[in-house]
């Protein structure tokens, strides 16, 4: 685990989205508010099609929002403004390099656009990722393609990294190599990372702050450790006519005969006593994994939207 929660925060945010909306034929991004503090690692978790990529593309100026304001590294972002991108490294799962050319070609091309390019670091990454500079991109495996793209992004030493599903489809070894490199970057307190994935384990490993997105809406956003602390699952034995006590955030998850499984958002000490005194027998009170929290939060978010 790598946490930077104790780091001093600066006043200006690394990125800020206020009331951002974007409509497509079958999808709508609905009033997204997102604040990313400098020097933090922010995980964006959501199912496929939740809107993670659209948010990141809006932050890069690749997609224009219908309404709302976007500011990244203190600059407003639009397709007409490129200067902010000088300090942003963007990776997207569907990003491709020129198949007919080598990594060396791409390195030279990117270097010509970035005065901040660090050739020594680029060479280190080539070695660390096991890439050959003269190899043509068309012969690359998926893992090599991802690593090559990350090399081209990381070697320019960006202040903000926006990574859209960087570990998607990677084998365990390649995934660990990529995550290890990101861990190294995380140690640099001046750099900010926004990292999206539908794999909660990857995000949990490196993130300080986590935001859940579902169907174009932010359904929860919090510090990772607070997320883990405030959610609980209870297993109770209760008669058929048992009425759950009125505890804010308590919801039934499943029922098997007299066994009730309840989840609680906003856990506080003493909740167990309240449950016991309601006529149920508490069998267990368990912390939930981030994945379980995510599933519960998505399910609640969808229920609330329908109501």
């Amino acid at each position: 685990m790598n946490s930077k929660l104790d780091r001093p925060q600066q006043n200006a945010s690394a990125a800020s989205l206020r009331g951002v909306t974007k409509s497509y034929k079958h999808f709508r991004l609905d009033k997204i508010d997102l604040e990313i503090e400098p020097g933090t690692v922010n995980g964006l978790i959501g199912p496929n099609g939740a809107g993670k990529s659209t948010i990141m593309r809006i932050m890069m100026g690749l997609v224009t929002p219908k309404s709302g304001t976007v500011s990244v590294l203190g600059k407003s972002i639009s397709s007409r403004e490129a200067s902010a991108k000088q300090d942003i490294g963007f990776f997207s799962d569907d990003m491709r390099l020129y198949k007919s050319e080598s990594i060396a070609f791409h390195m030279q091309f990117v270097r010509s656009l970035f005065p901040s390019w660090d050739e020594g670091y680029a060479q280190q990454l080539l070695d660390r990722f096991g890439l050959i500079a003269q190899q043509k991109v068309k012969g690359f495996s998926h893992g090599q393609r991802v690593k090559a793209l990350l090399l081209l992004i990381l070697a320019r030493r960006p202040k903000l990294l926006i990574l859209d599903e960087p570990t998607n489809g990677l084998d365990p070894v390649a995934k660990q190599e990529v995550l290890a490199e990101l861990m190294q970057i995380v140690n640099d307190e001046t750099r900010t990372i926004l990292y999206s994935s539908h794999n909660t384990q990857d995000v949990e490993q490196i993130s300080d702050t986590i935001t859940f997105i579902d169907r174009g809406r932010v359904i929860a956003s919090n510090n990772r450790d607070e997320f883990l602390d405030r959610w609980r699952r209870f297993k109770l034995q209760a008669p058929q006519n048992w009425q759950a006590p009125a505890i804010d955030g308590l919801r039934p998850e499943s029922t098997f005969g007299n066994l009730r499984v309840m989840t609680l958002d906003r856990y506080e000490t003493g909740v167990e006593d309240q449950l016991q005194s309601s006529g149920a027998t508490l069998e267990s009170s368990e912390a939930m994994t981030l994945e379980e929290i995510f599933i519960a939060a998505v399910s609640r978010g969808r229920e609330e939207k329908q109501q």
Partner: protein, 224 residues
């Protein structure tokens, strides 16, 4: 506007299209050489080859440099760099145009030289050749416009096919035009008003197509 970024993008695309560009230039020059071979059929075959090379160069370069970037998903990579939409549009439209103009100009220039130096050639045919090559350039610019606006291979091919049909009608019109058909057999080079009028119309079509292409491109809201 970042002129350095535009230059880098332009050179990158010129480098990426070096082999097709060179291939079409060589193919174009070879077809011009075929027109110089003895016999009427050689001239006809060379002429058909020239038109074929020009049309193939146009659709290939638009496909590789413009539509290919969307299909191969390399545009996301390019637009993640510190490049604005204006920089990207200027570089992209210029490079596609230049990559096409290299074989186009190579063929027209070599034909111009031949009409003046080859013993059997008649310099009077030059206005006809200029009209033909400007027509093909106009067709290319309309394909470029279609590719930018629709980002569709299908629609670009539709415009290509329509352009080819129109080219045949245009050639028929030139052959049957009393002034132009007479010029083709003339030993003296001249530019009668009808030729200048057609050139002016072609120039307007080319400039309008390029202007509209640029206008549509920079008005895009979503780049990927």
């Amino acid at each position: 506007m970042n002129t350095q970024a535009i230059q880098i993008l332009f050179l990158k695309d010129l480098f990426l299209s070096r082999w097709p560009m060179f291939g079409y230039l060589v193919g174009g020059l070879l077809s011009v050489m075929v027109t110089c071979l003895p016999g009427e059929s050689a001239g006809f075959i060379g002429f058909i080859l020239m038109i074929t090379v020009t049309i193939a160069a146009g659709i290939h370069l638009i496909g590789a440099l413009l539509l290919g970037e969307s299909i191969d998903m390399t545009r996301t990579f390019i637009m993640s760099l510190p490049i604005s939409l204006l920089d990207y549009s200027l570089a992209k439209i210029s490079v596609v145009l230049v990559a096409f103009l290299i074989p186009w100009f190579g063929m027209l220039a070599s034909l111009t030289i031949i009409t003046f130096v080859a013993p059997e050639a008649k310099p009077g045919i030059l206005p006809f050749l200029v009209l033909l090559f400007l027509f093909m350039l106009g067709g290319f610019c309309l394909q470029l416009f279609t590719a930018v606006v629709t980002e569709s291979v299908g629609w670009t091919i539709v415009v290509l096919v329509l352009g080819n049909v129109t080219l045949n009608l245009f050639l028929k019109m030139l052959y049957e035009h009393p002034v132009i058909s007479k010029l083709n057999k003339s030993e003296v080079l001249s530019w009668p008003p009808v030729v200048l009028q057609i050139i002016a119309i072609e120039a307007i079509v080319i400039l309008a197509a390029l202007g509209l292409t640029f206008m549509f491109q920079i008005r895009r809201k979503d780049l990927v």
